[in-house]
């Protein structure tokens, strides 16, 4: 241990005195700090913007004049997905998935307005976030600093000198790992600091922040141990560099994209347009609430009349048209729910396939940890869609309830021909303020922690594999000192 410490100190002295290494470390530190600061600022601005949009939309809805309630059903409203306190660390799918939903009667719209669509095409190259710097750029710098740590000693003959001084191959590998680990720690500090500050601002997020910090720490350590082992195993520095760059390309670039592509092929998802057409076709089969001769609604009418022991709708104690609207909405909503469950099932299957493939790339596992921990993963998006749909249904049914209970059936039936009747079907504007506001309930921190456990285990397995490789490389190094 003492000798390993000495070797680490000498290696760090080399890095400090070699300007290239020093510039690389300072650049990474700056990049991490800038990423943490800009991402946090961007997310804070986006958070405020969405909050302002939500407030403005709600105010516009409530400021509508006295109207027929079904006009309000079609006027609709917008909901904006709020941003979690840790999203600044890893925006996850937020820039790609829609963040805004238009809610209206009879329809379930897709989430729209994603950062990638709204901004320049440069966004497709990835936003500069602490997660991106740590998961993609930091390993590259560690490779450049560490690939020759041991091949250099062998090439210039100092390995023999070290071994003849009583140092073991294990001391050398451990010492080099400590040195490269120190650089990894420097790369981690800005990200950890950013997570700490985010957790400080929202103490309930401390556990999730710690989990993300742990995941990133494990990921960097996997690279550190792997790079040192590769340097011990390679015959030459050039061989080590080429192998490590190849591994980096696969782990950080090819595997994440390839895994997503494979998942979409193994669990294909219909396009939104196809799904909409299918839903419309099924809706037509179920019945049309606007068509008085529709068999489903004719049966509904007969059932309602029988329930109230009357023979015509005019004798009902409420406006039958409102009841039809409510029944039609319940019918379509059940269909929307069915298709949402199917969509969510396929998307979750895709997500599970990608998670399973993290056995091929620790980058997939660490992304899973940071997105789940930050609440910017698929689950949070699905939760937003589910809660938005529940809110849409509640809002529309509230308005349909006003339509049924506050309007006279005769006036409602005559409103398109009789201006006075039309005026009587308008209800007071204060009813709009009684529509409950959309309050997104994000996944609880405990649930997010639980979701991050499996990828943390995968990262631990990766680290275990790298340690086994390091032990093996020690044996190889002992035999290759010459």
């Amino acid at each position: 241990m003492r000798r390993a410490g000495l070797i680490a100190r000498a290696e760090l002295a080399l890095m400090v005195r070699s300007r290239v290494a020093l510039i690389g470390v300072v650049a990474l530190l700056l990049l991490s700090t800038i990423a943490a600061a800009t991402s946090q600022a961007h997310m804070a601005q986006e958070r405020l913007s969405r909050l302002a949009n939500q407030t403005q939309t709600d105010a516009l809805f409530e400021a509508q004049p006295a109207r027929h309630p079904h006009r309000m059903v079609h006027y609709g409203s917008y909901v904006f997905r709020p941003i979690g306190p840790l999203a600044g660390f890893d925006p996850g799918i937020d820039p790609f998935s829609g963040t805004t939903l238009y809610l209206e009667g009879h329809r379930q719209n897709s989430a729209t307005i994603s950062a990638v669509r709204e901004n320049s095409s440069l966004m497709r190259f990835g936003q500069l976030t602490p997660a991106f710097v740590l998961q993609t750029l930091a390993p590259l710098l560690l490779i450049f600093l560490g690939f020759s740590m041991i091949t250099r000693e062998r090439g210039r003959g100092s390995l023999r000198l070290l071994l003849s001084s009583g140092v073991t191959a294990g001391d050398i590998i451990f010492g080099k790992t400590l040195a490269l680990g120190s650089i990894g720690l420097v790369a981690l500090v800005p990200a950890w600091l950013a997570l700490f500050l985010m957790a400080l601002a929202m103490p309930s997020e401390a556990g999730a922040a710690a989990m993300i910090g742990l995941g990133c720490g494990l990921y960097v350590l996997i690279w550190v141990v792997g790079i040192v082992a590769a340097s011990a195993l390679a015959q030459t520095g050039q061989g080590a560099l080429l192998s490590l760059i190849g591994i980096w390309c696969f782990v950080a670039i090819v595997a994440p994209r390839g895994a997503a592509e494979l998942a979409s092929r193994l669990a294909p998802l219909d396009s939104r347009a196809t799904t909409d057409l299918t839903i419309q076709a099924e809706l037509r089969q179920l019945g049309d609430s606007h068509n008085p001769d529709d068999p489903f609604f004719a049966a509904f009418k007969a059932r309602i009349l029988a329930q109230h022991r009357v023979t015509k709708v005019e004798d009902l104690p409420f406006n039958f048209r409102g009841a039809v609207s409510a029944e039609g909405e319940a019918l379509t909503s059940r269909l929307f729910d069915k298709y949402f469950v199917e969509l969510a099932t396929v998307q979750r299957t895709q997500s599970q396939i990608v998670s399973g493939l993290s056995i091929l790339s620790p980058a997939l596992a660490v992304r899973h940890v940071s997105m789940a921990g930050a609440g910017t993963d698929l689950e949070t998006h699905l939760r937003f869609l589910q809660q938005s749909e529940a809110h849409r249904f509640a809002m529309v049914q509230y308005l349909n309830g006003l339509h049924r209970d506050k309007l006279n059936h005769a006036d409602d039936a005559a409103r398109s021909k009789d201006r006075a009747a039309e005026q009587r079907t308008r209800i007071a504007a204060d009813n709009w303020a009684k529509v409950p506001d959309f309050v997104f309930k994000p996944t609880r921190a405990a649930e997010r922690l639980s979701a991050a456990l499996a990828p943390i285990l995968t990262l631990s397995l990766w680290l275990g594999a790298m340690l086994v490789l390091a032990v093996w490389s020690r044996r190889v190094l002992e035999g290759r000192a010459l």
């Binding site: 210039r156 003959g157 023999r160 071994l163 003849s164 001084s165 009583g166 000192a481």
Partner: protein, 245 residues
């Protein structure tokens, strides 16, 4: 008990499936310089690596100050100072830092006065001691490495082609340092191509051919110390691939 020097007895070492040392036997007593000569691939460096315990020995025995590297590798390495042809000290460290570093790795500590004295003994300019080795000539690096060997106070010194690339003055200085070490009872085994250099300092010159000691000459107490003509003849024959008679 005094220092016991170094001995290789019937040493057999295989590398890449072939026998590189094939029953090599030689002995370097304390306070003795042994120059091992031979052509490329004769097994000179392999003998050093086997002594350091960096290569497994198939049969035979190495004894370093009475210890077998197969049984006591740490004790053997602690008893040896090794200088490679390239003087593989660290260029980014100063001469002083290199010495401190390798002494620490060997679990040894020396006072500042001892270190200053060692540098003075190897005649390294005091202003150079705090300069990085990247600015040093090969001769200055050799001096730093010898200062390290002096400070380690090991009973055995192994040298691999130590004078390659040195100018005549630096070679002469280096030989003077070896004689100083010899006077401190250090057993020195030097593998070299430099016949004239070996004649200058060695007490024994051995000629290795195909992993075996083909001939061995002892220095005379009177000048000339060696029969240079006989040595040159044997050496050129060995380089031509013929075993000298």
């Amino acid at each position: 008990m005094g220092r016991q020097g170094l001995s290789l007895n019937e040493l057999v070492v295989m590398r890449g499936g072939r026998s590189v040392l094939d029953g090599l036997t030689l002995s370097v007593p304390a306070g003795h310089i042994y120059a091992l000569l031979g052509g490329n691939g004769a097994g000179k460096s392999t003998a050093l690596f086997a002594t350091l315990g960096l290569l497994p020995v198939m049969s035979g025995q190495v004894l370093v100050d009475g210890k077998d590297p197969a049984e006591e590798p740490d004790a053997v390495r602690a008893a040896i100072a090794y200088l490679s042809e390239t003087v593989a000290l660290y260029e980014h460290l100063t001469a002083r830092e290199n010495v401190d570093y390798f002494l620490s790795l060997a679990n040894q500590s020396r006072t500042n006065a001892e270190i200053v004295e060692a540098f003075a003994q190897v005649r390294l300019d005091p202003t150079a001691q705090d300069q990085r080795l990247s600015a040093f000539s090969k001769g200055m690096r050799q001096k730093t490495a010898i200062a390290l060997a002096l400070l380690r106070k090991t009973p055995v010194l192994l040298l691999d082609e130590p004078t390659t690339g040195l100018d005549p003055q630096a070679t002469q200085d280096f030989h003077a340092l070896l004689l100083d070490l010899k006077a401190s009872d250090v057993a020195i085994l030097m593998v070299t191509h430099d016949l004239l250099g070996a004649v200058d300092v060695a007490d024994t010159i051995g000629l290795i051919i195909d992993g075996k000691l083909a001939s061995q000459w002892q220095a005379q107490s009177t000048l000339p110390r060696f029969d240079l003509q006989a040595l040159y003849g044997a050496f050129t024959q060995a380089r031509a691939g013929n075993t000298p008679v």
